[in-house]
Amino acid sequence: MAQEHKLAIFRGRWKFKSNIQKIWGVLILLSLITAVEVVLGIIKPSSLVHSHFLGMKLLNWIFIILTLVKAYYIAWDFMHLRDEKTSLRRIIVWTPVFLISYIIFIMLFEADYIYNILKDSFIAWNF
């Protein structure tokens, strides 16, 4: 790690005095996001469950986006990616992001295809 810590999150909107304060700030943020997820998971507001976007429930989109936000803060502040050189950070982040997006795309498309085969073709599986 570079000896200097970058002490601001939210693009500089929330500044901390020391690295330790920043750690606690990020903890509060992560706990809040988890709490929101858990509350939504328990209540399951029907407006979010029954509306869909790109074939997935709105609620599930919210969960996935909140998860990515959590992942961002874990990687950027706990794993100090914020303090690393930009080139190293890009190598670490963009390689998996590209590969994982690709495998998600092909596998889920294939799964949806199989789902339709099971549903519409003359294959007995649900007996």
């Binding site: 988890t34 328990i42 998860t67 794993m79 050189k85 190293l88 998600i104 889920l108 549903k119 649900n126």
Partner: protein, 325 residues
């Protein structure tokens, strides 16, 4: 070319020499390589889960019906326990990052304490995981399995509450006993018999007009389909065995792939946590013995910290895809 050739040949070669490409030391670069490749492995597993789920999109398990238990409490509390586990792991990540920070300031005492707390958090997490597994393996209500491997569950027609097998199964005296190894001519034994035989469950369900069947198929609203009493009786004829709890072959909660992937992915993650705890213990003792004090820097704490945060990062995704979505 200077940046690619190791010009310093003396000491410290094991550490990669004094070159620091991209501002990262050899050891840090390697742990990052490991984390990137390991994240691809986990991504592969989670995508496999997504594959199974999309394939059986209209009959998949509802996670809220599976993980409903909290230790020492009866009743149905979905989400609370796993939220606690997530929180424990995040806290232990925070103590880890505090240990790294203390290490940077060469504060041996604080680093020791924070490493100790991190190990503690890891142990609490892995214990909770074990409890979660045990509850899942033991099962709740029990169910029947059809020839095609589909699951038939039961509920009360009037209240809509789930029924356990013991609530309605008829006791039909002694037709079948567990075959034990000591009674056999050959050196084999069978798996423990379920609490009720198939016949007892079916007879019990037929005798009680309040028992109806719920199948795996989801309704429009995303709930399990409940059959009418007549259809329920017809469905019972398709059953071939009693299932209690979950394992890699049978799963009373629904699609067996859910159990397979649950054991595999949370197991692989739990394995990572166990390894992380061991590494943390080793580093803890090294801090205590002053190894890093002598070395002049606490970079090892940072490297093991990166691994520990990665384990936390993976859990964030496992939590979302197994329990929330």
């Amino acid at each position: 070319m200077d940046s690619t050739v190791t010009t310093v040949a003396e000491e410290n070669v094991w550490g990669g020499g004094n070159n620091k490409p991209l501002g990262a030391s050899y050891g840090k670069m390697m742990i990052w390589f490991f984390i990137v490749s390991d994240s691809l492995t986990f991504a592969g597993f989670l995508v496999a889960y997504g594959f199974a789920r999309f394939k059986f999109a209209d009959s998949w398990i509802i996670a809220d019906e599976v993980f409903t238990h909290v230790p020492f409490f009866h009743g149905s509390y979905p989400m609370y326990y796993v939220a606690f586990m997530t929180f424990v792991l995040i806290i232990s990540s925070v103590t880890m990052v505090l240990a790294v920070d203390a290490g940077h300031r060469m504060d041996k005492k604080k680093t020791t304490w924070y490493m100790f707390l991190t190990v503690l958090g890891g142990l609490v997490f892995i214990g909770s995981q074990a409890w979660e597994w045990a509850t899942f393996i033991k099962g709740d209500y029990g169910a029947l399995e059809t020839k095609g491997g589909r699951i038939i569950q039961f509920q009360a027609a009037d209240s809509g509450e789930r029924l356990a097998l013991k609530d309605f199964a008829k006791a039909i005296p002694g037709e079948r006993v567990d075959h034990e190894r000591k009674n056999g001519i050959w050196y084999y034994e069978e798996k423990a018999l379920p609490s009720y035989s198939l016949n007892e469950v079916i007879e019990g369900a037929k005798a009680d007009p309040n028992v109806v069947v719920r199948v795996e198929q989801l309704t429009e609203k995303g709930e399990k389909t409940v059959l009418s009493r007549e259809d329920s009786l017809k469905k019972l004829d398709e059953a071939v065995m009693v299932v209690e709890g979950a394992n890699l072959i049978h799963n009373e909660y629904g699609n067996r792939l859910f159990a397979d992937l649950f054991f595999f992915i949370t197991g692989f993650h739990g394995f990572h946590v166990s390894m992380g705890i061991m590494l943390n213990i080793i580093v803890f003792f090294n801090v205590l013995l002053g190894t890093y004090e002598k070395r002049g820097h606490y970079e090892m704490v940072e490297k093991v910290g990166l691994y520990w945060h990665f384990v936390d990062l993976v859990w964030v995704f496992v939590f979302t895809f197994f329990y929330l979505v």
